[in-house]
Symmetry: D2
Subunit: 144 residues, 4 copies
């Protein structure tokens, strides 16, 4: 799959279209069909004890899948999540949480991604796995 947006493009897109959450995420690697992002955790992402909350993990997977699709499809602001199945397997340790997402299918109407969340340096002990489906708007619906 060819890359239509690189890390800098995606970061700019994130900052412009999702100003409220842009500071929460960093691009670690953009290498289609893979995109790896990190959660820049602050207090509101944490539960008592300092572990990242479930909704924050969901949010990381969701954002990472979105940008995984955009890296190949180009800027299509209207792609929306239609399904997510997520398994929480281990308690995240304090420290940076990463998500590595793979674009498995990019069809005309649907895109399917699958990936894992893991603490930095512990990819072999994933904290969670997630699969997500995005609905792709019909062609011609460009961004802005």
């Amino acid at each position: 799959m060819d890359m239509k947006m690189n890390a800098a493009d995606l970061q700019a897109f994130l900052a412009r279209d999702f100003p409220q959450v842009a500071a929460d995420f960093e691009f670690v690697e953009v290498a289609p069909p893979f995109v790896t992002m990190a959660l820049v955790a602050s207090d509101r992402h944490l539960r008592p004890g300092g572990t990242v909350s479930g909704p924050s993990m969901f949010g990381l997977a969701d954002v990472c899948a979105y940008f995984c699709i955009l890296s190949v499809l180009g800027p299509v602001a209207l792609a929306v999540t239609t399904n997510c199945s997520i398994d929480f397997m281990r308690k995240p340790r304090p420290g940076r949480l990463l998500c590595r997402m793979e674009l498995l299918k990019l069809g005309r109407a649907l895109a399917v991604c699958e990936g894992r969340l893991f603490g930095e340096g512990a990819e072999d002990k994933p904290v969670a796995r997630a699969s997500l489906t995005y609905s792709i708007p019909p062609k011609g619906t460009s961004h802005r």
Copy 2:
């Protein structure tokens, strides 16, 4: 299923154990096996345009399932989400977002809930549906 915690009990538990998010949620009805909760949306739950974000909807479903289990099981702080499958079906309109969750199974090791998210007064046009599995700690592991 008998009720072990009513709305006031659950509200107190929420305030004490999840102080960071307690102000985000209200109990609307506690009638086991059903619990209905509302998201008290603030800026950080919203996307540009004023619609509730995906992670906030996930969070509402997750919290509602947790308290659905606790309403029947009593205070068991260590129950943890192991799986969630969520389908986003319609864009939420501005206004109060509710979740009505049903406890389908309460086994020794696992509990399964299923529910829907909908705007107030629009239960027939659900915004999302979700099913969640919680792992229940072995008996004897009481809360505090």
Copy 3:
């Protein structure tokens, strides 16, 4: 939701388009957005001990969702399952296994169904729950 195909229409469609499995299923009730079907279990649906196998339960949910969509949409042979999330909660007892499926959303491109499997007379102790997404072919793609 208006009914475009009733039980007799659906049964005829099943017999014509899925001759290999038509004898395995019966329509119990067609009342959109709900469709209830029964599995007519034979040896190949059973595991040692006489309980219905997981794939047979999946198949019942899948077929029931398909006909739930067709009851409202009319004969559209090209609708295909894109996602299924299924939770197995109790061991099915010997006896007839039913599935009651609800069409939650019928969009232009996607349909979402949710339902439960239960032994006859035991709807309050569901054996499994399932949610399914179907991709709907673009309009104009009629059946035959």
Copy 4:
């Protein structure tokens, strides 16, 4: 993860405990945490047109996950599927269908697997992806 059962052990276990379906499956590779199996498709696995049916794909993923767990855990006949989320992404072509499953977590009570289904020689264009959770019986519950 150490291997407690190799391909021959698993094949013997399959033949003894699941005689009804043993002829449907072959072990291609057992290399924990990965197990690859093939569906030996016969008429009852196929839909008109010769493509493998959804329930047969579900069944292949389910069996492959089961033996993925047993390859590491040893013979535990009572492990049962509690959840499966499966995405169907491409129509399978005629020919052998494989499933490569990975054991992501083996806890005391739950095991989580994730894998892909693909036609022989086409692993880069997966037909489906699936994640499954199995409930593990408490220790001491040995097989026979």
